[in-house]
Amino acid sequence: MLGWKTRASWRAGSLATFLVVIGAACGTSVQESTEYRGVLLEPGGRPEFRLADVNGEPYSFRKETEDQLALLFFGYTHCPDICPVHMAGIAAVLRDLPWAVRDRIRVVFVSTDPERDTPERLQEWLGGFDPSFIGLRGEMDEVNRIQAELGLPTTVRTEDPADGGAAYEVGHAAQVLVFGADGVRLAYPFGTRQADWKRDLPLLVSRLPPVDGEGEAGARRPAPNPNRGCSPKPA
């Protein structure tokens, strides 16, 4: 039979174990969670690449998105699932955000299927979500080089032999890369919900350096949107 001391120490041990487990669980969740819903990547600069926008004009990613919150996604307009879900989710959240926040966000969509994604098609498809979204095209080798530089898998084209390759699918990275202030880089995988974007985007924008005249009368106007050739107007 166990003595009371043994029982007491057994209880104390159990309690200590329980507290350690609970504490470890809490500690782990605190360590693992960041202040953002996206996955925090190694900090670094924005990638430097130049691709053609829907008007055929060169678009320099680093220069054009400087001091802005840049959302970069590689996809294609015939994508049946991931691309439209990501674009629709971001567009829906942008519509809810105050103009001052929205004005600091650039959504850049790089086509991984330049063969079918003609400038017209790209403009029409992106415009269906949000006219301010920027569509870029380039040679497949160049697009793959940019993806590899960003640590993303390169594009894979899957053809169905049954239809002679007329309708094909394009395998591509499913995450949206976000470039914020001070080299903050985040990845938002497929499964990111509108609630996540709605929480993180204003937070990320709030950390951007203020731009000249921000908060004053005649606040800074957004950069011209190459998709439309005119600036998006506040709602």
């Binding site: 439209p84 629709a88 989710g89 269906g128 499964g191 609630a195």
Partner: protein, 290 residues
């Protein structure tokens, strides 16, 4: 091969898909009805119970048309569970999911119960006892609304709709809840003398009010509440938020349409019964007149 409709990650196509689990489920209900009907008719329906011996016992309908009601209920259930409604509702559109709810929990159970033949069903003691308790109007109403609330919680929908078993569980819960809910309205067995037409009408009106919470939650949520439908491959470019609003409106409109149709029928029957009784009384009075 999929046995039951569940959420899928592939894009929606209009190419037909077989769901053998749905067919077996429908077949099992049909066979059970056929076997029980034969047993009831062989037993003469009455089973020694004078109330049950009446040709209109139970639902108040003549016995000849009842199989047609049951078949209509079964077809309705099949349409809601099988391709394309079942597949679209399981993993693509919240609006179609809500259409499924209206068909499985509201329309189909009412039609199935209208098809129950007269006579006392041989259900076994435990089932009969469970039905007797569960079909008490207050208990049935509470259970039904509890099922509605629980099966529309985002955590429940998102965790169950991804698996065939989970999706099956939601469908069966809706059907069982609907049967319990309609039982005291459609069937007069076990006898509930206190639950006449005015009480039945009140019961149904109360039911239209109770589910308003779910309707408001879905229709006026700022963000999509179900990950299943928010992250589903889009169908015809319908946005997740619009789809959710359609779901909320469909829930309200569908529920109100079904319940108010039932209320109208009950009101008409009540009026007709009162008229017949008044005529009988008036007819008796004139015979006695000098």
């Amino acid at each position: 091969m999929q046995w039951w409709c569940a959420a899928q990650s592939s894009a929606w196509t209009w190419s037909w898909q077989a769901y053998p689990g749905v067919w077996l489920f429908i077949l099992a209900i049909g066979l059970a009805y056929w076997r029980r009907s034969r047993r009831w008719s062989r037993a003469g329906g009455a089973d020694g119970d004078p109330a049950a011996a009446s040709p209109t016992a139970g639902t108040g309908l003549p016995p000849r048309g009842r199989p047609a009601w049951f078949v209509a209920g079964l077809l309705c259930l099949w349409a809601a569970l099988d391709w394309p409604i079942g597949a679209l509702g399981a993993g693509y559109l919240a609006g179609v999911h809500m259409l499924q709810f209206v068909l499985i929990a509201l329309v189909s159970p009412a039609l199935l119960l209208l098809g129950i033949p007269p006579g006392r069903p041989d259900l076994g003691r435990r089932t009969a006892m469970a039905l007797k308790v569960g079909s008490q109007p207050l208990i049935a109403l509470i259970l039904f609304n509890l099922i509605i609330i629980v099966t529309h919680l985002p955590a429940v929908v998102d965790s169950l709709m991804v698996s065939q078993f989970g999706s099956f569980a939601i469908d069966v819960l809706w059907l069982a809840g609907g049967i319990l809910f309609w039982w005291p309205v459609v069937l007069d067995r076990p006898a509930r003398p206190y639950f006449g037409y005015p009480m039945k009408i009140g019961y149904l009106i109360l039911a239209t009010i109770v589910n308003a919470g779910t309707f408001l939650y879905l229709t006026f949520s700022e963000l999509p509440v179900y990950a299943t439908y928010e992250l589903a491959p889009p169908v015809y470019g319908l946005s997740a938020r619009d789809d959710q609003r359609i779901a909320g409106i469909l829930m309200k409109v569908g529920t109100v349409a079904v319940l108010w149709t039932a209320i109208s029928v009950l009101f008409y029957r009540w009026y007709r019964r009162e008229s017949v009784e008044a005529q009988t009384t008036a007819g008796g009075g004139s015979d006695d007149a000098p």
